[in-house]
Subunit: 210 residues, 3 copies
């Protein structure tokens, strides 16, 4: 069953690209907070792979994929190396490109995370949560390591987009859509919601308590 | 063996009630820290279910119960929804009622956590620690997500009450008491110690280091 | 296979000594941050055993060794007790002695962690990372509980020494050296690098980003 999501070379390449983008973002956050080279490597690793590792531990896929397959940590460290050796280049990336790449990574991680949870016989409702965790778990660990309240809990439509994309995919699968249809549908839903949210400056509602 | 703690409908209802109370407290903390709706849901989930999830990962019960049984996250999100839609109602709960409900949840979590660890053949000494972790692990994760030093490490007799209750239950079982006696004994010990500690403003000792 | 690293009584004694040293350091950090007795116990436990527990969860050795073998938590709590009851004694330890003992603990943890990962058929590259995690994971959790950015990410040659020691050992094993040679070689490499780095005030490079 897992084969249907991982056998295709294309999906694997996209997965590694998402890992690279998240790793660059993690290493940039490390550099902005004055961490050293080791800190860059750790934050690249945690941001890119932390969400998937948490998901794998929770659904019982042990050792997690990123601990079994050396290409994932190697890709994360390549992202850290880019930030370390080409800092100027990275800081001059247009932010709209970074936002788009990040949204693409988020969408893929959310869909792939929910799909893997279903493969491990996790209930559809929890598979959606596992999709969201895969998408935002790494950034949450990064912010905890930086002793910040995770951004994802405070503002923006980010985790909500990951959950929505995972929900669309899981719902489509429950309605007997083929994976080859349901997966791109979920990825597109997350990506579109995220891009529109950035463009329109959407935020989730909050309540005031004193 | 596990059956003896989970078969009874009553225990399950109490367990879900404890989950609900802890979730409301987590969502309140999220609202007080300015988090959005997603933050409320995450903190409700983490506070209510984080301790049990950590325990399950450590004793080898994978996937953890809260990832296998959708009713637990659903109950946690119901707690978050109550805080979100009825904030005024929740903030006007009498604090003595909240403290009592919290102490009841703590007592039940500590006893159930230690019992589950014993069922998984964990050494009695470590089963007591697993009981304490089940009781306070969720609140610790909540405080870490809020970038605070966890309250439980600083003041109050809270984790100590959970450990004491778990110890009483494990000791009674080691002395061949029936579970139907040992479990309520442990729950009562934790609850009483916690309530007296609140009433008398007890704190654990500390040492001064400069 | 695991037998070759754990059967020897001497290695077990050294492992428990390393646990004790790390526990004392964790409890000292707790006391310096105003935590109570429970906080001392938790930070001693997390600092001494957290790295090994994370490694065991990731490589699939569940329950982790420190949850199966009561002597490890008992040793950690003994370290907390020493700080609690003999605070004056501990604060007057010569810092050079503490640094040396800490470097010895780090070296042993890094080598033992990488060796255990290899025993669980983890890829050599990831086994090196698991060695580093075993050495510095506990201190990282301690700093997260104290709501600090982990020191290990910011300055000093500490995690890098652990990674170097693990790499030397794994490389030697890949080159068909006997474990009885490769293990002491890795321990010595980490210890020497750490001690020289302390003596020469070495730091890892960092990049400036604004």
């Amino acid at each position: 069953m897992t084969a249907r999501f991982h056998s295709a070379l294309l999906l694997e390449v996209i997965d590694l690209l998402g890992t690279f983008v998240f790793a660059v973002e993690g290493a940039m956050a490390a550099a902005q907070n004055g961490l050293d080279l080791l800190g860059l490597m750790v934050l690249a690793f945690a941001t890119a792979l932390g969400g998937g590792i948490l998901r794998d531990l929770l659904i019982g896929s042990v050792p997690p994929n990123s601990i079994r397959d050396w290409r994932y940590p190697a890709t994360a460290f390549a992202g850290a190396a880019l930030v370390f050796f080409e800092t100027g280049l990275v800081t001059h990336f247009p932010s709209s490109l970074l936002l788009t790449l990040d949204a693409a990574g988020l969408s893929l991680f959310a869909a792939a995370g929910a799909a893997k949870a279903l493969d491990f016989n996790i209930h559809p409702f929890l598979a959606v949560l596992m999709g969201g965790l895969t998408g935002v778990g790494g950034g949450t660990i990064r912010d905890m390591l930086l002793a910040h309240i995770p951004n994802v809990l405070r503002s923006d439509v980010y985790a909500a987009a990951a959950l929505a994309g995972a929900a669309v995919m899981v719902l489509a699968l429950e309605l007997k859509a083929r994976p080859a249809l349901a997966t791109p549908l979920g990825i597109a839903a997350c990506f579109l919601l995220r891009m529109v949210a950035v463009w329109r400056h959407w935020n989730l509602p909050r309540v005031a308590v004193h």
